[in-house]
Amino acid sequence: MSRRPVPPLPPVARRVLRGDRQALAQLITQVENRDPAALPSVRALYPHSGHATVVGVTGPLGVGKSSLLNLLLAHLRVQGKRVGIVAVDPSSPFSGGSILGDRIRLERPPGDDGVFIRSMAARGHSGGVALATRETVRLLDAFGMDVILVETVGSGQADVEIREVASTSVVVVVPHLGDEIQSLKAGLFEIADVFCVNKSDLPGADSAARYLTEMTQLVPEKGAWRPVVVLTSTTIPSGVSDLWDAVLRHEAFLDANGSRRVRARRQLTDEILGLVRERVDARLTSVLAQEPDLQALLDRVVAREIDPYSAADRLLAEVRREP
């Protein structure tokens, strides 16, 4: 393939690269709204991304994810790391609205432009990680953030999506696991690269950690990553540097055995196929909307004149035609 000349950067992309926070914030909104106007900048910024360490922090409601992010933020800022935070909360299935409250826990010195925090509603996408999260992470990456922390509420079932965005996934639990054990087995257990037993100031933390450590011993394959278990508390701050060290150990593991590249390729495959599906879907919808003989076609299928497969062939031919 011949290299095409690089087109000039769209103005918004240029502003983002220059560190314009409002340009970044507005571009994120466009991405969230799936506004096609965002595309030129999003595309132009892609080559500028790929440098950040992206860490997913997930776990059941109220386990202390945002409080942990707050301490991680301070820990990383002391090291001079620029940090982006994306905090995803569910949308109300009834109104579509949401209350995004993670910012309450996040403190920082005023005017610190080494931090960018964005709250995001999942807007009806299952799995906690909104469709727009991936792109927002990428924009923060291009903006020059060294570390991007993504908070999602994970119930255990549908939250595997965090793995499609993060290179390391931290699953946060609390000492009195109770019913959560089942859901851990079901979902969260598979996605954890690091287990964080938070609220370790409460009784039962040690036995929870022991239990999780035993579970991680069951990981089958040789040479596979064995999730690290750390104990933290945010009320009596402790364990946060252990938590970050565990993340870095996993990051080093990804580099050492080449699985970072494998993971990235898998994530990109999913993303690209998702984009293709979305476009085919949109095209199909418009074909169906314009197909005057759809009812007639259906009538013929009902009357057994043609079979459903032939009807599908006909629609597919329409989809394939250039719009």
């Binding site: 926070r21 409002q22 914030a25 507005q26 994120i28 909104t29 466009q30 969230e32 709204n33 799936r34 506004d35 096609p36 106007a37 949308s91 109300s92 009834f94 109104s95 579509g96 609205g97 949401s98 209350i99 995004l100 409250g101 910012r103 309450i104 005023p110 005017g111 960018f116 925090i117 964005r118 709250s119 509603a121 807007r123």
Partner: protein, 139 residues
Amino acid sequence: MSPSPPAGPIRVLIAKPGLDGHDRGAKVVARALRDAGMEVIYAGLRQTPEEIVESALEEDVNLIGLSILSGAHMALFPRVLALLKQKRASRIRVFAGGIIPDEDARRLKRMGIRAIFGPGSSLEEIVATARKLAGPSHS
């Protein structure tokens, strides 16, 4: 570029500047706005004007709702407006609720606070006003 960009939900930052310690009223308003389909970023208690404006810009909100009981509104609200102006972000509209004497309310409105809701205001009224302030591109 599409002629009229697809507008997402209205985004509102709800914050409580000043030192008074409870936020029941602000939370009730936040819930009402959510139930009306808006995305409410709840920033919580004791926010400085600087923090409020910084959050509003990062979150790219359409509106800021300030709630106050402490009586410091004449110092804090104009500061929020001034910071927005300084950041060239006066597109973000500000409304307020709390215990604010009529005379102060008139002055604040002249300064650019778009709406002020006293303790007797209905949630319907607040939601309708927020919608109107967010502009026609939002349904």
